[in-house]
């Protein structure tokens, strides 16, 4: 998109965008939390890495669902593809971590690009079914192609080389934690720039009124296809991180329940805010960790109840609640 040339540079049409894109103090505060957590909970680094990975995965869903409004029940497909791509690469002797991430990202993005055309063909229900169908097909494939994927036993024998040739993955998960966190941060910053760009704005326009956007000259299908591919790429990287840090890929990394949980985390945090994805993931995973000594079935019950309550009463999640709280505080000043 080219800007009209007579626009003055600083008060141009992008000024509101730029203002919204500025980093706030609260955000720096938020990002100091994982660093603090490293020193406060040195025994729970594995859990913290899991949160970072799932946070990235949730972020990828937020991009396509929260911003572009594409409903997906099969986002896990890209996560699984990324995990298997990185896992297979490393188990065949190419254990350099960043190459693994790149290969996973490219393969997931390629799948995302191809399937985006299927997804764009229908309305909500068809989208739900096609995304779900693609994910289930991949699940069945991974389950049956035991020679390549290890089937139900999972893919093991993943040997990942030290990060940058220097930081080896240790038993306590220190390297893994910093590695995941760094990748998450870099990708988060990129996603943040993306949603505050004119591109991101056009996505929001498509979500809010898909009929009107073509009249503004937005190529709707091309935009949706692009963001779907980007979402797939992010999910692929998250999958690769999981494969590399746990050195194992289980076939249930493609399962339906992971997609459902992911949706829950996103709405718990609040969709369409980026931070909501991270907050929702953290709250969800910590809660599950703390409640894991409860019976798994009861956990599922509370999970279901929570979903119902969120949908009925707190549709904008934790981030929405925080925003309302801030507004109240400001009014009292």
């Amino acid at each position: 998109m080219r800007q009209p040339c007579e626009m003055p540079k600083d008060v141009g049409e992008r000024e509101p965008l730029r203002r919204a894109a500025r980093w706030r103090a609260a955000e720096w505060g938020f990002w100091s939390l994982p660093v603090i957590a490293y020193f406060v909970f040195p025994d729970n680094l594995v859990l913290l890495s899991q949160i970072a990975i799932t946070g990235l995965f949730c972020l990828s869903l937020d991009l396509i669902l929260g911003y572009a409004g594409i409903v997906s029940l099969g986002h896990v497909a890209f996560f699984g593809v990324g995990a298997y791509a990185a896992g297979l690469l490393a188990s065949h002797g190419h254990g350099e971590p960043f190459t693994g991430l790149a290969v996973a990202a490219v393969s997931a993005a390629a799948l995302g690009y191809i399937t985006s055309f299927l997804v764009l063909r229908g309305a909500d229900l068809t989208r739900l079914m096609v995304t779900l169908g693609v994910a289930m097909m991949l699940y069945e494939l991974a389950n049956k192609l035991t020679d390549i994927t290890g089937g139900v036993d999972g893919l093991s024998g993943i040997d990942v080389h030290p990060v940058l040739g220097y930081f080896a993955f240790d038993l306590y998960g220190k390297t893994a934690y910093w590695y995941c966190l760094a990748v998450l941060f870099v990708l988060f910053v990129l996603a943040r720039r993306l949603v505050h760009s004119p591109f991101g704005l056009s996505l929001r326009g498509i979500r809010l009124n898909v009929g009107r956007m073509p009249a503004l000259g937005t190529p709707v299908n091309r935009r949706l296809s692009a963001i779907y591919t980007i979402g797939a790429l992010y999910a692929g990287v998250a999958g690769a991180l999981l494969a590399q840090t746990t050195q194992f890929v289980a076939v249930d990394s493609l399962g339906f329940s992971r997609s459902a949980e992911l949706l829950l985390m996103l709405v718990l945090g609040g969709s369409g805010t980026l931070y909501g994805a991270l907050v929702g993931t953290s709250v969800f995973m910590v809660a599950r960790y703390l409640l894991s000594n409860l019976n798994a079935q009861y956990w599922q019950f509370w999970l279901g109840l929570l979903l119902v309550l969120i949908v009925l009463f707190a549709r904008d999640g934790i981030m929405g609640g925080l925003r309302r709280l801030m507004r109240l505080l400001r009014r009292n000043e």
Partner: protein, 285 residues
């Protein structure tokens, strides 16, 4: 031939369970992923009645219909009604929540083992035609499925209630203006949908088994039927169920190494060529 017959029978069973979803999702436009939970409830009621209360199988079916229908009414009044105007995403999340709760609930009450169901003697066994083995229970399913399909089609197309229902779905405001009690119509329709799910669940215990994982294990199949058949079309659901049933049985028989892959591949390719479903109406804006 036998494979074809078995395929039709399992398709009919699929139809019996998912026609309820075709009613709620297709006609009322509510994405109810908890549909399988109603089917599971029907299965458990049926097993409890026949195995523990000694009621004959055929007599238990009407009780299942009524029982699950009543539960449907209560849930519709309390919960579902609030979400009719919500986005599809909200409905998906809400019904996944209900689904998880129902699984945990079934676990708590009935335990996680498979529930046995003994069919009466006159529904067991099979007779042989040249080149075709006909299981009596399967034949029973096919006849019942065809009867219900016909009945529903008549109900929706030919009766006053059907006309009211279609009017309420297409334009609730105008329907209200004409004096149709839209809320009542929706409650009754939802009850009908869940009752049919319960019936399908009860009939399916024999072939699909029954355990707390049931709603999650088969929800994909039910959704496939509705999505492929085209929403709101009973004939479409019937056609889709039979096609999918035959494809599933044939796939498992000829290509066992691919397992459920076949049915998903059939679904995705069908949806690519007919995003509105086989017999679906063009989406109304």
């Amino acid at each position: 031939m036998t494979i074809f017959f078995d395929g039709i029978a399992s398709g009919m069973l699929l139809f019996l369970i998912s026609v309820g979803l075709s009613v709620t999702l297709g006609l009322m436009n509510f994405v109810n992923l908890a549909h399988g939970a109603f089917a599971m409830l029907g299965g458990y009621i049926c097993v409890t009645l026949t195995q523990h209360a000694g009621i004959p199988f055929l007599a238990s079916l009407p009780l299942v219909l009524v029982g699950v229908g009543l539960v449907g009414v209560v849930l519709e009044r309390l919960l579902y009604r609030r979400l009719y105007g919500a986005t599809h995403l909200d409905q998906v999340l809400f019904s996944i929540g209900l689904l998880l709760m129902s699984i945990a609930g079934a676990h708590f009450v009935f335990g996680d083992e498979q529930q046995p169901l003994e069919l009466p003697n006159y529904l067991q066994g099979q007779f042989n035609l040249p080149g075709l083995d006909v299981g009596i229970y399967r034949l029973f399913l096919i006849i019942l499925g065809a009867a219900i399909a016909l009945g529903l089609e008549l109900l929706v197309r030919r009766t006053r209630f059907g006309a009211q229902l279609r009017a309420s779905v297409d334009n609730p405001r105008a329907a209200r203006g004409l004096g149709i009690d839209v809320n009542r119509v929706f409650t009754l329709t939802f009850a009908l949908g869940s009752a049919l799910a319960g019936l399908g669940g009860a009939l399916g215990v024999e072939m699909l088994g029954l355990d707390p994982g049931f709603p999650l294990k088969y929800i994909v199949y039910f959704l496939i039927v509705v999505a492929v058949g085209g929403s709101g079309s009973i004939k479409g659901s019937l056609l889709a169920s039979v096609v999918l049933g035959v494809a599933d049985v044939a796939g498992k028989y000829y290509l066992p190494e691919f397992g459920a892959f076949v049915i998903y591949a059939v679904m995705v390719s069908m949806l690519i060529f007919r995003p509105q479903g086989l017999l679906g109406r063009a989406a109304a804006l």
